[in-house]
Amino acid sequence: MKNLKKVSLYLLALVAFGFASCESEDPEKENDGEVITDVTLKFQELNASNALVGSVLSFKASDPQGIEVGKTPNIESINLTKGKKYQMTIEVTNAIKGEDITKEILEEAAEHQFFFLGQVFESSIFSIQYADAGGIALGLKTIVTVSPSTGTNNSSMRVVLRHDLNKSFAGANSPTFANFAQAGGETDLDITFPVILK
């Protein structure tokens, strides 16, 4: 009987200990690291000898909260001139954490690729080619040529960033590969910019 009492005392102590030691931690603020809040397309004109001329034109798409319901992203219109050739560079940042995601995309160039779609390409208003360093198909740097003879002044361009795709998939080396989904992977960015031409 004495032993039994001892055992039950131990049990009780264990239970008490168990209960006391199990409280949830205080919540901590979590900075969304994965989120892309700002995407900036920078255009600079290229002259006949492919040298950069003129000032840089910046057009930005931003979503300060990242993914949150009820807020739609703010997307600026791209203003370009007909018949000109531009170098386009893309900057991607996470303003919540103050992080430059462009660098990460470049570091993981083997797993990332931008595709450029939408009306500007369907109606042959723009033509585009990858111009990244090392001749890789990535799309952080591209050359965009605006057709001189286009009837419309308003169009749109869709910019898609794919992650974890099979870059050697047949057709995926084209920046305007519409069936990018077939190369696998997932979409990190899918933004449609309005385009205004003069």
Binding site: C22, E23, E30, I67, E108, A181, T187, D190
Partner: protein, 783 residues
């Protein structure tokens, strides 16, 4: 304490009176007449200790020179008896013989006998090597022995599919959750050796953290068992029970090896149990298992990143004597599961593209490597249990369980984030229960008790993702009382329970601290009965209420669910779900055939479900569907039927099937809930070769699974329900003697024709076909 006792007796008396009233009605229907030598004696043989039925006890009437063995429920019937005094003698291995005089005069006598386990040691210490049986009048199905052996190497969900009325809700071929009568996740309860398994069960892609290898018995209770087990046991309860600890000096070792061609998967499982010769009543068991599998193959392609690795370990040490019994138990489970790469979509157009394609875009090969997206889960469970016999009729049970569940989910992410989990949760659970049981000489047995559940959930910081669910502390206290009347072939049972739950949750969304304190309370009640109509037929009926407080994810979800390309919104104002389930069972056991029919109706008030709002949400990442948690009254009803038939000694057949209907009763036209199993059946024939077919030394089994298309689809689904399918399985098993022990070997071919199919209840039906043909080789040796 005294006050509690008093209250208990008031409740117990109330319940007893209610049962007596039912009984009086039943008896008044019977007619009593006596004639010479056509009397019938019915009875039941139970363990004195725990009222568990004793199967195969031998009952002998000396004067009539007639005898019979008890069935699996401990029941026996002797017919054509003469009136007068008779000596009844009951024997069962390891138990004290019962020999007593009875007087037969009425047409039918119902008697209950309780056998005491024989003293092993000469000192007179009685050793009770019993297990806690499920003492319920609800429809119960158990997998054990040969059927369990056949399921070895499968997950818990897959194994339980062998029970009629149980299906799985799965996410690919490695994650499957059991579904009982259309309900799953937090609407059913899983008990690991008597402790409520507490993991992050709210998630559709969160498999139960338990390895069925630790069990020698998997039991499915199909009724609302809230009174007995606490909140959430709405659809039913699954009991995963390890074998009883040895109480005498004998040791057994079991080795299982399983190999599969699909996924090139292999299992190894070993268990060893032994008892002490020096200290009778002292026993132990250790068990370990491990599984490794690579990419699953569908008939036409591999599913990328669907490998898994899993290990489990458990151990138990126990001591039991006539007065006291104690057991310490520990189990550990860890798993790493690859998630089909293509199921992790970036946005709605990604999702629609893959659904349209009907198959993954990534062209995978075979590999064991598990990449992101993946889940890494570990679960520890420790338990202490003790019972003490206050006197021959009263017993006090104490049980304490500690659980630690850690779940990490990894997504494909950029840079250094890729090695950090996107979801990192740690859940601690303490469960304590104190139950006082009585087993009176009269026909009453019963119990009263207190259940406490304390839980703490924390998000481990550093994921770089706003947590899907908050940190929270939960406390649930419940008191219950149950009474059972048992006389002859009749059992009647009723119970009451009251629960009180508090949840206090907190988290940051951006810079905003969100805090909520919620309380829930509910009373539950059940009444049930079992009647052995005659030796062949038995009827059970159980009517019970159950409830489930809304889960943390239903209350607080606010974020992106990658697999569904959906934004899910919780609602902090949700009420508890309350259900009323009526389950009726009819069992037939004849010479050549057995039939088990279960019919049920489950009315659920404020059923919580995820409903598409029809709206979309646009971000830089693209478009997403928006879903919200809503409540509506639901009505579930259905039938499970299973049966066996022996055509000849060598040829046996079986069939089982289930039908389930689930409606939203708040809408005028019929609307349906998503992910309700479609009608299905499974039938087969087995042929035993040789002269002693009972021993099943050489057996060939051919079976056919038929699954209908789910025509009762919800208004919105990403893809229509897949078409009906039929699968053919072929198996061969052989038992051989090896060093005086039995070696069981079996070769099973699942999906023999390599049929390409999609299962409605598999969430990955949107992305891929199901598993193709699989050859499985099994080896089981016990020594």
């Amino acid at each position: 304490m005294l006050g509690n006792f008093k209250l208990y007796f008031i409740f117990a008396t109330m319940i007893q009176k209610a049962i007596m009233l039912c009984l009086a009605m039943a008896v008044s229907l019977g007619t009593l007449f006596a004639q010479k030598c056509d009397l019938i004696l019915r009875g039941r043989v139970l363990h004195l200790e725990n009222n568990q039925p004793i199967e195969a006890a031998y009952v002998w009437l000396s004067e009539s020179a007639t005898g019979v063995a008890t069935d699996a429920n401990g029941n026996f019937t002797l017919k054509n008896l003469c009136a007068g005094e008779q000596t009844i003698q009951i024997t069962f291995i390891g138990h004290k013989e019962i020999k007593q005089s009875i007087v037969l005069n009425s047409a039918t006598s119902n008697l209950t006998f309780k056998m005491e386990e024989e003293a092993v040691a000469l000192t007179g210490v009685e050793v009770h090597g019993h297990r806690e049986a499920v003492q319920t009048t609800t429809a119960v199905s158990t997998l054990y022995g040969e059927a369990l052996l056949q399921s070895r190497g499968e997950s818990l969900g897959e194994s339980l599919k062998r029970v009629a009325g149980v299906t799985t809700f799965s996410t690919g071929n490695t994650i499957s959750k059991p579904v009982i009568h259309g309900l799953h996740s937090n609407r059913i309860l899983i008990l690991n050796n008597g402790i409520r398994l507490e993991g992050q069960q709210w998630g559709a892609e969160h498999a139960p953290e338990i390895d069925p290898f630790l069990a020698d018995e998997l039991t499915v209770v199909k009724g609302a068992e809230t009174v007995r087990y606490g909140p959430e046991a709405m659809g039913g309860v699954i009991l995963v029970n390890p074998p009883a600890l040895p109480t005498s000096k004998k040791s057994t070792t079991e080795l299982n090896l399983v190999g599969n061609t699909n996924g090139r998967a292999g299992n190894v499982a070993v268990s060893h149990a032994g008892g002490s010769g020096k200290y009778p009543g002292l026993g132990y068991r250790i068990q370990g298992a491990t599984r490794r599998a690579g990419n699953i193959q569908t008939p036409n392609y591999y599913q990328g990143n669907t490998g898994m690795s899993e290990s489990s370990l458990s151990g138990a040490l126990g001591y039991s004597s006539s007065k006291i019994g104690t057991e310490a138990y520990y189990s550990f489970f860890t798993t790493e599961l690859g998630i089909l790469r293509d199921a992790h979509t970036g946005n709605l157009s990604d999702l629609l593209a893959i659904i349209e394609n009907g198959a993954p875009f990534s062209q995978a090969d075979f590999t064991y490597t598990i990449n992101n997206p993946k889940q890494v889960v570990t679960h520890h469970l420790a338990k202490l249990k003790a019972h003490y016999h206050l006197n021959p009729s009263w017993k006090l049970n104490f049980q304490y369980g500690f659980q630690k569940n850690k779940r990490q989910e990894f997504d494909r992410r950029r840079g250094e984030l890729n090695v950090r989990p996107s979801l990192d949760l740690e859940l601690f659970t303490n469960t304590t229960e104190l139950v006082l049981e009585h087993n009176l000489k009269s026909h009453w047995t019963g119990s009263m008790g207190i259940h406490l559940i304390q839980q703490a959930n924390s998000n481990v910081p550093g994921t770089g993702v706003t947590p899907l669910i908050p940190n929270y502390d939960l406390l649930n206290a419940g008191v219950f009382v149950m009474e059972k009347y048992l006389k002859g072939a009749l059992e009647l049972e009723a119970g009451l329970r009251y629960d009180y739950r508090t949840v206090s949750a907190a988290r940051y969304v951006g810079n905003d601290l969100q805090e909520s304190d919620l309380t829930y309370q509910n009373g539950s009640i059940f009444i049930g009965g079992r009647y052995q109509i005659n030796p062949n037929w038995a009827f059970t009926s159980n009517l019970g209420t159950a409830w489930r407080p809304p889960n943390v994810n239903e209350l607080f979800s606010q974020g992106l669910h990658h697999g569904a390309a959906a934004v899910e919104l919780g609602d902090v104002n949700l009420d508890s779900e309350k259900s009323l389930k009526w389950v009726n069972g009819l069992e037939f056991e004849g010479k050549r055939s057995t039939v088990e029919l279960t019919a049920y109706a489950n009315q659920i008030r404020d059923y919580i479900y995820l409903n598409p709002t029809g709206g979309t949400f646009v971000s830089l990442r693209g478009t997403f569907n928006v879903y919200e948690y809503l409540q509506a009254d639901a009505f579930f009803y259905g039938l499970d039927l299973s049966g066996t038939y022996s055509f000849t000694e060598n040829l046996n057949g079986y069939a089982k099937g289930s039908i389930i209907r689930a409606k939203n009763t708040e809408t005028e036209t019929d609307t349906y809930f998503p992910f309700i199993p479609s009608d299905r059946m499974d039938w087969g024939l087995s042929y035993s070769l040789g002269k002693n077919p009972d021993q099943g030394k050489n057996r060939i089994t051919l079976s056919n699974v038929l699954v209908a298309k789910q025509h009762r689809e919800p208004i919105f689904d990403l893809a229509p329900a897949p078409p009906a399918y039929a699968l053919l399985n072929l198996g061969y098993s052989k038992k051989v003697e090896l060093f005086k022990n039995t070696l069981s070997l079996s070769l099973q071919v699942n999906n023999l024709l390599n049929t390409e199919f999609k299962e409605y209840m598999n969430r990955f039906r949107y992305f891929t076909a199901d598993m193709g043909r699989n050859f499985q080789l099994k080896f089981n040796y016990q020594f």
